[in-house]
């Protein structure tokens, strides 16, 4: 009954989306007011209905209602409640329902609060939003129904992949989905602006919070996903250039570029065509990401269902939306008047470099990700990995950071280098000191060395915009920029240190043996069996001493889950401010010794701290923009009120 209720809510929401599309269409064509009046309420009620459907799905998962196919194939009665609930979206159908919910809620929010754009543009935007949603409703209802019943009812469910029974794995998909969907809202604004020929700074201001929000969630989702892969897979790496990881990185790159170009459009009314183009590209990347991950074209922990029908469905949606948007862009691009001009040496000029470099990196990642699929069509199988991605993308990323040193200091429109010279020289000298200091001390690879030097220079430069300004009166968005740029430096430092300074030790040990790895002495004390709620494990009890200091305990496990039957390695981590000790317990050798793999990874945690700082910067900026908008709205309301009183 609960499942049917959820399904009915979904159908109703889809019908409302259709109504919203018709109403918006009528509105843009100047049609009947009755039909137009329905658009905003339709969007709001849709949000409520899809939310209800999602709650119903969580309910059947929490109760482990095995008569629902999705529950039977993905859940199990003996599983911690938290993972039963997160199991609702750790599968294909549930995650697509989550996508639709987030989309409907965003649509409802715009319909409810956004009043700054001309009504026609707003209607066109809501119409575009309804059009995109309809595709996903169709996908959900016709090929991925999460509420499908199963008869006869099985005695027990198949369980959730143990790799996904994890807190980071429960947080990572919603983060990415919020990001993807946020970009779909930006896309709707772009389509609305193009349709009604209204590409203005106001359009950029209205779109910006959505891009910022999407970008914050993408940043967090990628950071969580990377940390999950790092400790859960037990390979000691934090980024594998796996197509699935690239699928989340590409929308992030596009959103980062869009964020910066939207700022130019909002502040200076320049880069109009380019911003519109980026809006289309950013959503295309979300769709391509979804296609790569969900079509089963790739084999991975994310490819829940290898089902060509679904892949074709998403491919068709992708072709309709992106093809349509590009056609609209081609038809309307010539009608977008040229924006304000600017000198090369200006804030705009630096942001153009940022955009070009980000687009180049995006292209490089996209080519590298799709290349194996292309060659496979010709019968040649290849894999593209770090030897391609690292140097090729770094050749654009590192120059971009050089511009990042000076860019935020430049004034809009026109500036001279002499004005910012002092700060830039300071930052560059710090970078050079690190370059030669570290270069002389240790023979490191060229990329890590450049990374460390640039990280130092960018860290110093990130705070340069604060010089000579009153910190208490500094607007929040400036704080956001400073912190996000500093986060880039922190992350880069972690990446460079991890790749250059990591020490690895692989050994077969018996109880009592001590292994040295970097500054650590690790003693294997004993091997014990342990049990958890739905698993048993062999645990290696170890004591680790840093530089002969106090012993700290460390207990990596080899776990066996029984539903579904699967073995996983649980790595153990010891965190210090300057790095992490990473331990994995392997197999028992024939002579009774145990394989132990240890890594000392200096400053590796800075990678994720940097990611969090970047997201925090985005959050501050978003808060600043939203409170600014609210204050403006309040002021306008007061003026209107006073005006009204004066008239009466």
């Amino acid at each position: 009954m609960i499942a049917e209720f959820g399904l009915a809510a979904l159908w109703l929401a889809a019908a409302l989306a259709l109504l919203q599309l018709f109403g918006a269409f009528a509105g843009v064509r100047g049609g009947s007011a009755d039909l137009v009046a329905v658009v905003r309420p339709a969007a709001v009620v849709q949000a409520a209905l899809t939310g209800l459907a999602f709650l119903m799905l969580i309910w059947v998962f929490a109760r482990t209602d095995l008569s629902v196919l999705l529950v039977a194939s993905n859940s199990h009665s003996e599983k911690p409640l938290i993972f039963k609930i997160s199991g609702a979206w750790s599968n294909h159908e549930g995650s697509m329902l989550m996508w639709v919910v987030i989309m409907a809620v965003s649509g409802g929010l715009i319909a409810l609060i956004e009043r700054r754009l001309p009504e026609k543009t707003m209607l066109a935007t809501l119409g575009a939003q309804a059009f995109v949603s309809l595709g996903f409703y169709a996908f959900l209802l016709f090929s991925s129904n999460p509420f499908e019943r199963l008869s006869p009812v099985p005695v027990e469910g198949a369980g959730l992949n143990p790799l996904l029974q994890d807190t980071a794995a429960a947080v990572h998909p919603p983060g990415l989905y919020l990001g993807y969907v946020g970009l779909s809202v930006a896309f709707s604004f772009v389509v609305g602006a193009l349709l009604t020929r209204n590409v203005t700074p106001d359009f950029a201001r209205v779109m910006r919070p959505w891009v910022l929000g999407a970008w914050i969630f993408l940043t967090l989702g990628i950071t969580a996903g990377s940390y999950w892969a790092y400790y859960e897979l037990g390979w000691g790496g934090w980024w594998f250039w796996d197509p699935v990881e690239n699928a989340s990185l590409m929308p992030w790159l596009a959103a980062t570029a869009l964020l910066h170009s939207a700022s130019v459009l909002a502040a200076r009314d320049a880069l109009r065509t380019w911003t519109v183009m980026l809006g289309v590209v950013a959503f295309s990347m979300s769709m391509i990401g979804t296609f790569l991950v969900r079509s089963g074209i790739l084999t991975s922990v994310h490819a829940f269902a290898v089902d060509p029908e679904r892949g074709n469905f998403i491919l068709a949606l992708l072709a309709i939306y992106i093809g349509g948007a590009l056609a609209l862009f081609a038809a309307r691009a010539s009608t977008i008047a040229e924006g304000e001009r600017f000198a090369l040496m200006s804030r705009e000029g630096a942001l153009v470099v940022n955009n070009v470099a980000l687009s180049a990196i995006l292209g490089i990642v996209l080519l590298g990700t799709l290349y194996p699929l292309l060659t496979e069509a010709f019968g040649v199988r290849v894999s593209v990995g770090p030897p391609y991605f690292n140097p090729v993308s770094a050749s654009f990323f590192l120059p971009m950071l050089l511009v990042l040193i000076a860019g935020p200091l430049l004034r809009w429109r026109r500036d001279s280098f002499a004005r910012v010279q002092r700060s830039v020289v300071l930052a560059v000298s710090v970078g050079l000191v690190v370059l030669f200091g570290v270069g002389v001390l240790a023979g490191l690879g060229i990329l890590p060395l450049l990374g460390m030097a640039l990280a130092a220079a960018v860290a110093v430069a990130a705070f340069a915009p604060l010089r000579g300004r009153s910190l208490r009166r500094l607007p929040l968005p400036v704080w956001g920029m400073v912190i996000a740029h500093f986060g880039i430096a922190v992350s880069l430092f972690g990446v460079a240190c991890d790749s250059a300074l990591t020490v690895e030790k692989l050994a077969a040990a018996k109880a009592g043996d001590t292994i040295a790895v970097g500054p650590w002495q690790v003693t294997l004390d004993s091997i014990e069996p342990v049990a958890g709620p739905n698993w048993t494990a062999i645990e290696g009890r170890m004591t680790a001493r840093y530089d002969g200091g106090e012993g700290r305990e460390l207990a990596p496990q080899a776990r066996s889950f029984w539903a579904p039957p699967q073995e996983t390695t649980e790595s153990a981590l010891l965190t210090r401010w300057n790095g992490q000790l990473y331990a994995v317990l392997g197999k028992e050798a024939a002579d009774g010794r145990w394989q132990v793999r240890l890594w000392w990874k200096p400053f590796v945690t800075w990678i994720w701290f940097g990611g969090i700082l970047i997201a925090l910067g985005g959050l501050l900026s978003l808060l600043g923009r939203v409170t600014g908008d609210l204050r403006l709205r309040e002021r306008r309301r007061l003026i209107a009120q006073r005006h009204g009183e004066a008239v009466s």
Binding site: T299, V353, A357, I361, G363, Y388, A508, Q566, E567, D591
Partner: protein, 153 residues
């Protein structure tokens, strides 16, 4: 000099810079893909046309039953990957993946050594039928069973 440029020319310069950068990215990517992409090979392909020693390739096949042995150091393993037609000796130092076992599928990243042994830096093993190595996915069911049967004999 740039300070003397007219705004229109400055815009042109920007467009040219952007174009050069994008074309540069394309060229760089093409070069990188030609040189850095590693090929997926089945044992018979690897034996028929061996790659240069040290060139990164990815080998996929079945771990032959009874071929797995461990060195005295407890961490270096040797095994044979076969596809029913050819066999390739593989050596690997490290912890074997959870699902790694004789008679099941494996994908090994690494390169051929001058000694004719495949040196793997990384192993991926999937034994669920959903996760047969990509190389074996295109075989018919009968072929697949034959390979598995031969490997597990």
């Amino acid at each position: 000099m740039t300070a003397r440029l007219k705004p229109k020319h400055q815009r042109l310069v920007l467009v040219i810079v952007a174009l050069v950068a994008i074309i540069g990215a394309g060229v760089l990517a093409a070069w990188g893909l030609r040189n850095q992409a590693s090929f997926y090979l089945l044992p018979n392909e690897l034996v028929a046309d061996p790659p240069a020693a040290g060139q990164a390739v990815r080998l996929g096949g079945m771990v032959e039953a009874g071929s797995l042995r461990t060195d005295a150091d407890g961490i270096t393993v040797h095994f044979i990957v076969g596809d029913g037609e050819a066999k390739v000796p593989v050596t690997y130092s490290g912890i074997l993946p959870d699902l790694f076992q004789e008679g099941s599928g494996v994908t090994a990243d690494g390169s051929m050594g001058a000694d004719g042994v495949f040196h793997a830096d990384g192993l991926l093993a999937k034994h669920d039928e959903k996760y047969v190595p990509r190389e074996l996915k295109d075989m018919t069911e009968a072929q697949k069973h034959q390979v598995v049967a031969e490997a597990t004999e």
